[in-house]
């Protein structure tokens, strides 16, 4: 059987260890899906696969054990799933138009979680519409608060929803609940001063805990939501590392704009002699300053935004792993 691996991969089918068998990856942006689509996923798994699905780390579904020659048939059937993404492109009978840019994952966010500062599902779907389809290998995740349940710190782009807490001294009863909690569980950005709470804006990470803890609504959410973006985290066999803060107190437009601009950045700098090169390694190669300049180009920056002057990524290299001896 002759198969063009490039084409099927782009179509969201993968080469598997079983000869002549493939697996289809279903995108579920933000991990949010109407259950009516389950029947379709079920019928494909039963009719073409082995009746199972794998729930992927990125919150999609992977239907294994499919014959390559069934791809065309399946592609026709999964049209409703692709339509459900709400993309601006025309949906065809030819299946997913790209697979490089991975499913955008998100924690449950403010639809369910009390800690959340924003509707992560909505943001995930919006970013999906902005950057998909695209062949470059990008990993994006959105988390509702700095607890980071979705592990935004392991992504190329991790978006952390924040809020700018507003203090109304006239409502404050000086109970210190916010102060104690911020000190114990967050960054210690608050202190009591003459029975008022003082917030150190430099230390505050916008988690919103003070708002949750206040028994009388002296703290409330600012009108504009803000975002912290951490970048170039990764796993892999060479140099795993967590993503580092790139921008703080950013508007949604800037966050989305940065991701969009990074596609052009990758297009300009990717090493095409390699089968694939991850963005993190491209940024390592060309340098943070070049990356920063190019992805910020043309973006209308909001007033409160702060951009990292420099980033030092940590992580480790497997090859320098010399702390082990055989027993």
């Amino acid at each position: 059987m002759g198969i063009n691996g490039k084409i099927v991969t782009k179509n969201a089918y993968r080469i598997t260890k079983t000869r002549n068998k493939t697996a289809l990856r279903i995108r579920v942006p933000g991990g949010y899906i109407k259950v009516k689509h389950f029947t379709l996923i079920q019928s494909i798994a039963e009719e073409y696969g082995d009746g199972t699905v794998h729930i992927t780390t990125r919150q999609g579904f992977e239907i294994p054990h499919i014959d390559f020659d069934k791809i065309a048939q399946i592609n026709k059937k999964i049209r409703p799933l692709i339509e459900s993404l709400g993309l601006d492109i025309e949906v065809t009978d030819y299946g997913y138009p790209a697979a490089g840019t991975r499913n955008i994952s998100a924690c449950v966010g403010s639809r369910i979680c009390p800690q959340a500062n924003n509707d992560t599902t909505k943001i995930a779907r919006k970013i999906e519409r902005t950057i998909y389809p695209n062949d470059f290998h990008f990993k994006v995740a959105i988390t509702g608060c700095p607890n980071d349940c979705i592990k935004a710190h392991m992504q190329d782009f991790g978006i952390i929803c924040t809020t700018d807490p507003q203090y109304d001294a006239n409502r404050c009863i000086s109970c210190k609940a916010c102060v104690k909690n911020c000190k114990k569980n967050v960054t210690g950005a608050l202190e009591m001063n003459n029975f008022n709470v003082k917030r150190d804006a430099e230390k505050c990470i916008g988690c919103g805990e003070c708002i949750l803890k206040c028994p009388i609504g002296a703290w409330s959410r600012g009108e504009t939501p803000y975002y912290r973006m951490v970048i170039m985290g990764r796993t892999g066999k060479k140099n795993p590392r967590i993503a580092m803060p790139f921008i703080k107190w950013s508007s949604e437009d800037v966050v989305v704009g940065v991701i969009k601009n990074t596609y052009a950045f990758v297009g300009r700098h990717i090493d095409r002699s390699l089968p694939k090169e991850h963005i993190g390694y491209i940024v390592d190669r060309v340098g943070y300053q070049v990356f920063k300049q190019e992805v910020m180009e043309g973006l209308k920056l909001n007033k409160k935004i702060q951009i990292a002057e420099n980033i030092q990524w940590h992580g480790y290299y497997y090859k320098q792993d010399n702390q082990f001896k055989s027993i």
Partner: protein, 340 residues
């Protein structure tokens, strides 16, 4: 005398009243709920009918209108003191019967509690008139009927809000404007809710003994209550406060004395000099509140403090229900009495 007004005519009436009064009512504060994308209902100044939130119970009670969360009592300079002036424009508050009765409890505490009248409370209280919102359906957690506070008669005006029209009964003649005299008259007596979904039985005051105090029930609340104080801050009848002296000069001779709401559930409420704290365990705080609301207050004033507004239940992040607590306590007291 009653009057029937269209929503538009009612707005004109409010407008006319606003020449004389600041009008407060439950208002939806958009985006100001503690969770992202949520609102909160609290008392605020209103301009028109549309500003009034009637579909849901207010999260915070109207207490803050007549008893500010934070109030400067006086400024001092050496031995001289001066109380700040307040806005003396009269106030009209739209309240439900439970809250109107609740304000009666605050009056007891601040005005009719021994010889001293609380000057600060009194001077604001004198400015206030009440427009009672007719309440016949209540909300899920209300137990005003059990607390005898479903009916209130000391209103200056009563209002019934129907879909297409608003009916008012005016008791205080000064609230009659030509917007009313030009309107249709109607016979209107406000009705009152006769049965809540939640009912409580208060244990007979004298049957609560030391044994009840030591019951393991309170241990349960020690494990559940996180001492956040929301049940106090939202309660219409909690009236405790603490004092704060703010020093404005290095030699501490110029400054400001404030009083600020406090609450028995809030950590640090009973802290004394030297770090002693009478009620360390959160169950003990719950016990203190319970006794105050449905036992001690009665012994002093012959009426219970709690009016059954149910807000403490609505706001508790740990789903602690005060009405359930009362009923559990009643069962315990009955049990104890049977085995005497």
């Amino acid at each position: 005398m009653g009057y029937k007004l269209s929503p538009l005519a009612f707005d004109y009436y409010l407008k006319a009243l606003r020449n004389t009064y600041r009008i407060f009512a439950p208002v939806l504060q958009k985006g100001k709920g503690k969770f992202a994308g949520t609102d909160v209902i609290s008392y605020g100044e209103i301009n028109s009918l549309d500003d009034i939130m009637l579909d849901r119970k207010s999260y915070f009670s109207p207490k803050e209108v007549l008893y500010p969360i934070r109030e400067t009592l006086f400024y001092f300079l050496n031995d001289e003191t001066k109380a700040p002036a307040i806005n003396v424009k009269p106030i009209l508050i739209l309240v439900r019967p439970c809250d109107l009765n609740g304000i009666g409890k605050l009056d007891r505490v601040f005005l009719n509690n021994g010889q001293e009248v609380d000057f600060y409370y009194a001077r604001r209280r004198e400015l206030i008139k009440f427009a009672m919102i007719e309440c016949v359906e209540g909300f899920d957690t209300c137990f005003c009927v059990s607390m005898d506070s479903n009916v209130a008669n000391n209103y200056d005006m009563a209002v019934r809000f129907d879909e297409d029209n608003i009916t008012v009964k005016v008791v205080d003649k000064s609230l009659i404007t030509k917007d009313l005299t030009h309107a249709d008259t109607a016979i209107f007596e406000p009705a009152f809710i006769q049965e809540n979904k939640v009912k409580v039985t208060i244990p007979e005051v004298d049957l609560v003994t030391k044994k009840t105090f030591d019951h393991e029930l309170w241990e349960e609340y020690t494990s559940r209550c996180i001492a956040c104080g929301r049940c106090n801050t939202s309660c219409i009848t909690c009236s405790c406060y603490t004092m704060q002296d703010i020093k404005l000069s290095d030699d501490k001779k110029i400054g400001e004395r404030r009083r600020v709401w406090a609450g028995c559930h809030i950590d640090g409420f009973t802290n004394m000099a030297g770090g002693h704290n009478f009620r360390k365990k959160n169950g003990e705080k719950m016990r203190f509140k319970t006794m105050h609301k449905i036992n001690d207050f009665y012994k002093r004033f012959n009426e219970h403090m709690c009016v059954g507004c149910g807000r403490c239940d609505d706001v508790c992040p740990e789903y602690i229900s005060f009405s359930k607590c009362i009923n559990k306590l009643n069962a315990i007291v009955r049990e104890e009495t049977l085995h005497e």
